[in-house]
Every structure is written in structure tokens, then in C-alpha cells.
Symmetry: C2
Subunit: 141 residues, 2 copies
Amino acid sequence: MKTIYQKIDQSEYRMTPQRSVVLQVMLENQGQHLNAEDVLAKARSKSPSIGIATVYRTLEKLAAIGVLYKNMFEGGSYRYELSIGDEHQHHHLICLSCGSITEVEDDLLHILEERLENNGFQVVDHELKFYGYCPECRVDK
Amino acid sequence: MKTIYQKIDQSEYRMTPQRSVVLQVMLENQGQHLNAEDVLAKARSKSPSIGIATVYRTLEKLAAIGVLYKNMFEGGSYRYELSIGDEHQHHHLICLSCGSITEVEDDLLHILEERLENNGFQVVDHELKFYGYCPECRVDK
DNA sequence: TTATATATGATAATGGTTATCAAACAAGTG
DNA sequence: CACTTGTTTGATAACCATTATCATATATAA
């Protein structure tokens, strides 16, 4: 299981002040799902002259080497989150009431993937979203 | 289990020639996932003067009353498919080689939903995509 | 230093989708 | 039937997240 820094070292990724700021923002907001504008705002509080293009380029690069995961959300826009370890985290429980986004437990996914593999479909990636109400917000009890 | 026509009758959806053409296109391409441009092209072969705005409006309306399902795909654009019966069909196996899109069996989903409900999360909708290789395209055997 | 390559920020371009608006059409009313 | 009122249509402008362009700045190599 590679660390973030190992992933960066093993890529031809040159660390610049701007990239460092973007990475820092993502580290400080671990577990959150930020879009490019969010990242720009937070990055500008550290480095006011950073531009949106650099933010996009950096997020894209960090996603390419597996440091971030790029998620597609409703409305057709993307959000980024820190990818810890080798496990994918692109499966979410999205609360329609409070908007909280949490992760599906991995063991549930493995059951599903096993079953799909048994049916002949070779899974290489997935993207799951469950919309509903989290335990705090559910209305039926 | 409502039919398409029951859903339309029970809404305040007025059937116009243009809407009829769009619906016809969706019926003739059942099981396929069409984007607005696809629908426009097919609709224009029946009714050349139809405009893209009408296609978007009609797809949106048909999705709102449950006749179509609106799926978000990679690149942040939407595709529409006919929604047969009450069962949702928004879970897909997407082959990275041939691009075929097939459905996940419902019983697999029910297992997953049950487990999530047991954990306190009330599921009202979902969106699943598995990327990989279909039985015809898989490379590991 | 000098030459070469890469990164940056401003901004223009892109592309799918939505909003606007005048004209066409439909439905109801007396 | 006119007439009024409301809805739908198609063309096109606007929108907005993302990407491409390009001159300048910065880093690396020779």
C-alpha cells in the first residue's frame, strides 16, 4: 500500500509551490468532496495568486497518479477527494436531507464484485451512489 | 405496475406531434442509452423540423413522469433510456472494450440495499456503474 | 551563463444543457 | 364562429464547468 508521497515520488511529478498548496488543501480536507472552485478558494487563502487553470491541472494530475479520486456528481460536475491507500473510495451514501456523503463498507462491495465476476463480467472499476436518508435524517422511524 | 401510457395519461402531459416522435424514438430504441443528440438525429428522420430544445424539454418531462430514466455518464453528459415497469434500471455494466452497456441483475441489488437498510441508511434511489470487460471482451481467459 | 523544457495565470474556446422570446398552435368562452 | 388565454415550438443566446491557448515566468541541464 503506497503512501501519497510514494505515489508522487514514483511519478514524474515535480513539486511546485502551487501544487504543494493544492495538495495541502486536499490533505486538510480529508474525507470531504471538493470541487475545483472549493479548492481554488481554499488554495487562494494560502497563495492568493493561484489560478483556476493550475487548480484543474493539479487535481487532474493528482487523480492520474492515484492521490485523488475524481467523482462525478449530479449536475455533471466533478468533485475530488483524497485517496488513502489502494482501496477505491468511489462509492457513496448521499443523504438527500443533510447532504452528508459517507462511504459504503468494502465487504458489501466485494460480495457484489464476486457475483459479477462469477457471471463473466471482469470488473476493473466501479462507481456507486446510494441516495436516501442517513440514520440521523431518516423519516420513517 | 403502470404502463408508459398510464404514466402519461395520469400526468398533465399533452401529446403533441413532436413529443410523440420523441417517445416513438425511445420505444424503437428500447434497451439503448441515447443522448439528446442521438434522439434529435433519429427524431429528425421522422420530423425534420424538430429542434434540440424541444428534444431536451421532452426528454426532461418524460423522465419527470417516470417514462424515461436519465443517466449521468462519464464526461458529465446525460443519456436516456426507456423505463419499463416500476423497477429502476439505473445500474450498469459498462464494457471498456466494446462499450456495451448491460444491466445488473436485480437480486444482487436487493442484497446490497438490504444490508444498507440494516445499517440504518434508508435507500430511496441508487446509481451504480461497473466498468470492466464483458464476457466477450475479457482478456484474462 | 545559455539553452531548453516545463509550469503558471489570464483568458478564450468548447460543448452540453438551459433560458429567452416571438411566432405558432390549442383549448375554452360567449 | 371570433376572441381571449394559455401552452408549445424552434432559433438562438446565455450559462457554466472544464479545457485549450499562449505569452511570461520559472526550473533544469549543458
